[in-house]
Amino acid sequence: MTDNLRPESPAEWVLKIEGLEVATRGAAAKPILKGVDFSIAPGETLCLVGESGSGKSVTSLAVMGLLPKGSLKATGGRIELEVDSLLEVSPTRLRDLRASRMAMIFQEPMTALNPLMRVGEQIEEVLIMHQKSLSSTQRRERVLEMLDQVQLPDIERVFDSWPHQLSGGQRQRIMIAMALILEPKLLIADEPTTALDVTTQKQILKLIKALQERHGTSVLFITHDMGVVADIADRVCVMRHGEVVETQPIEELLRRPGTEYTRQLLTAVPSLRPRAARAVTDREIVLEAIELEKRYGERSAWARWTGKAASQTLAASNINFALTRGRTLGIVGESGSGKSTVARCVMRMIEPTGGGVRVMGKDIASLGRAALKPHRKRIQMIFQDPFRSLNPRLTIATSLVEGPINYGTPREEAMEKSAELLALVGLPKDALDRYPHQFSGGQRQRIAIARALAMEPDVLVADEAVSALDVSVQAQVLELLDDLQRRLGIAVLFITHDLRVAAQICDEVMVMQKGAVVEYGPAERVLGAPEHPYTRSLMLAAPGRHWDFSGFRPLDHVFEETPASTSTAPV
């Protein structure tokens, strides 16, 4: 706890946490926070970073008094917000302080808004509860003014919109408007941009910064993303296992991390600078897409009967690529770009509406169910969320042998094979008889990889396969994939929104936008010197792009914004 910069006198901090302890409720109380200390000065941005389970979200919920009542409770320490001691004030006082002196925005703007209330009314509700003297016209004016401040277009229309009619970025702007309308002293932002696309993230971060300067707000920003930290933090507080590891000004932390843990955390951040493509050893094309197209359209009886123009969406069009043995092709793009659609078409999980998919030279795009079966095992998928992609009721062994047995492998043989596979992905043999919930996220993703490999595929399709993992675990899983590729010569189609990950694992990269390919080539060129404006805007929006994290120094050659690439439309 090297918090030597902590301001001491009350005027110098807005929030001060001392020795905060939180434990689970019940007979076997388990400590979650073990004495957390930090403080935030007026107008300062303090980033709380750490991996999952470090206690950063619990800390923020404890400040707001929003710990889940049934399961967690604060057992010690102090939380002071200016003159109020938050663990001691009455529930009524705490309610008064919320929104007026401290406010919070959350990770998922989709679920954080009430789906059955117009967004304007949801912001207005803050005024109804805290400023009872305002008339309804005054309230509406204030809300509209705030909508304007968060740079939403067409504010009258937005006021009367339902949450589902707005984009993710717009919803987060609504949340910000709601949080800041009473000009609170403290804004707690819990991973507010994690669920957003990079370009949207960039705009939201900029907006928070601007409003912070305008209102003099202190910001407690919780994130796992070191890139974001590097871009916005004044000081950083690193947490691990419910304890503060170190608190440092940002430059200091990035250049001279004070602890081994922080050092590891920074080293694990993948570099944005693409690695060189591996030498071509095998020219055999294992997977090829030829003018692949997927079109969604309304074909209901009602639509035909009313003769309404069929509203069709081109989820992917004119997709061409070729993947050779032992290589990794990355498909990158933002949400809605069609990258997952391509993966699913290639897997024939959904039916392509045009073009061809060749697996080992054989077109499978139009094969029927029976004819498709022998080709299915050649191409296997790893999913994003290892917590949901394994059947919780089946032992690991059962999950691993199911596929091979379906393809006629005798059970004994399949069992032997699965033990080997577990060793291959770095898990102990006794894992076979256990259930998915007994493993961590990283271990589960290893199991998911073993499951895919059990089919002896030629191609692995990894759809955001490391996006749900902490950076250190992510690094290990990526290393495992690399290792397997070298040993088994497997080809990987890697779908990701994360440019850092793409830069580290891909030989070739295909950038997609709105269902179309905008740039396709060696990763070194596409990510190192992007030509298309969209790729450029993606690279420019990547957080922390000025910093070489594992080198503990700023990068010297970063390509800069050109007038052409700044024109990203606000969301």
Binding site: R95, D96, L97, R98, S100, A103, T111, L113, M129
Partner: protein, 315 residues
């Protein structure tokens, strides 16, 4: 919104056609000659021929169906074999007691059960929650006629506050006498629905209370009451409405026992009498009417979803 309502309403039409077809075939395809069924065991061959002639049974099946359906559309449901009265008239007499009783019961159930469920969910795991849950198990497991007779014993015989049985039409004698006669049967009918709706409200509320936007509401400084009723209950509404609707539909047919216990001249007893005496035209009419009520209730539920949830509205 308009297009949604129109679509839903139009979707009810084919359902009713299928029901009508089924009801029609019920008589024609049941074993034996319809004319013989209608005429009874003692009929002579001449009588049978005359019945066949008048009912048009000599014509092809599909023509018979269209003729019959045409009469239905004109409001002619045929004539009862037992009383020789028009089926429509028989049913009209019985419809009001049943519908008014069902409405009263469902209103009672909702008023009691929804707050119970909300409070149980709010105080999840507490004594109140456990009490509500135990009561609802009781509500499920005690047969309705037992509840009915216990209610009569207490309120009518021992206390003498309410009549033992009988029925007064709200349309003829006003609300006072109606409620006096209907409150006990309504209480009896609603026990199961109170249990059902309270459980569903609790489960649905528990789901919603775990949602992110509830946390947002707390973070805004909203009071417990506001969070529960303004944010949570409406979001929990769709499954609750679903049970209320299904409950109401089931009540229309499940009312038989209650009508017998309290001697109420409703549809339930008409149904039992018609089945016992094989009064086919009446049975057909009753099936059509109850199915019609089911379809209407389903439609009402679908439309109320749209009122409740803008995401459904704009689909």
């Amino acid at each position: 919104m308009f297009s949604y309502c129109l679509r839903r309403t139009l979707a009810a039409v084919p359902v009713m056609v299928v029901v009508a077809l089924f009801v029609f075939l019920l008589l024609r395809l049941s074993p034996g000659d319809p004319a013989a069924i209608i005429a009874g065991d003692m009929a002579t061959p001449e009588q049978l021929d005359r019945i066949r002639e008048t009912l048009g049974l000599n014509q092809p099946l599909y023509i018979q169906f269209f003729n019959w359906a045409g009469e239905l559309l004109r409001g002619d449901f045929g004539t009862s074999l037992m009383s020789n009265l028009p089926v429509t008239q028989l049913m009209a007499q019985r419809l009001e007691p049943t519908i008014s009783l069902a409405l009263l019961s469902i209103a009672l159930s909702v008023v009691v059960a929804v707050p119970m469920g909300v409070i149980a969910a709010w105080k999840h795991g507490s004594l109140i929650d456990n009490a509500v849950m135990s009561l609802s198990v009781l509500g499920f497991s005690v047969p309705v006629f037992v509840t009915g007779y216990i209610l009569i014993k207490i309120f009518s015989i021992d206390l003498g506050w309410l009549p033992v049985q009988g029925f007064r039409r709200v349309s003829q004698e006003g609300f006072g006498p109606f409620i006096q006669h209907a409150i006990l049967p309504a209480l009896m009918l609603s026990t199961i629905y109170i249990a059902l709706i309270a459980r569903m409200t609790r489960a649905s509320m528990l789901d919603v209370l775990g949602e992110d936007f509830i946390r947002t509401a707390h973070a805004k400084g909203a009071s417990e009451k506001r969070v529960l009723f303004k944010h949570a209950l409406r979001n929990a509404g769709v499954p609750i409405l679903e049970v209320i609707g299904t409950g109401f539909a089931l009540m229309i047919t499940g009312v038989v026992v209650t009508e017998s216990v309290f001697n109420i001249p409703g549809l339930g007893r008409l149904t039992v009498d018609a089945i016992l005496s094989r009064d086919y035209p009446v049975i057909q009419g009753l099936i059509l009417v109850t199915s019609g009520v089911y379809v209407m209730i389903n439609l009402a539920i679908d439309l109320s979803y749209a009122l409740l949830d803008p995401r459904i509205r704009y689909q």
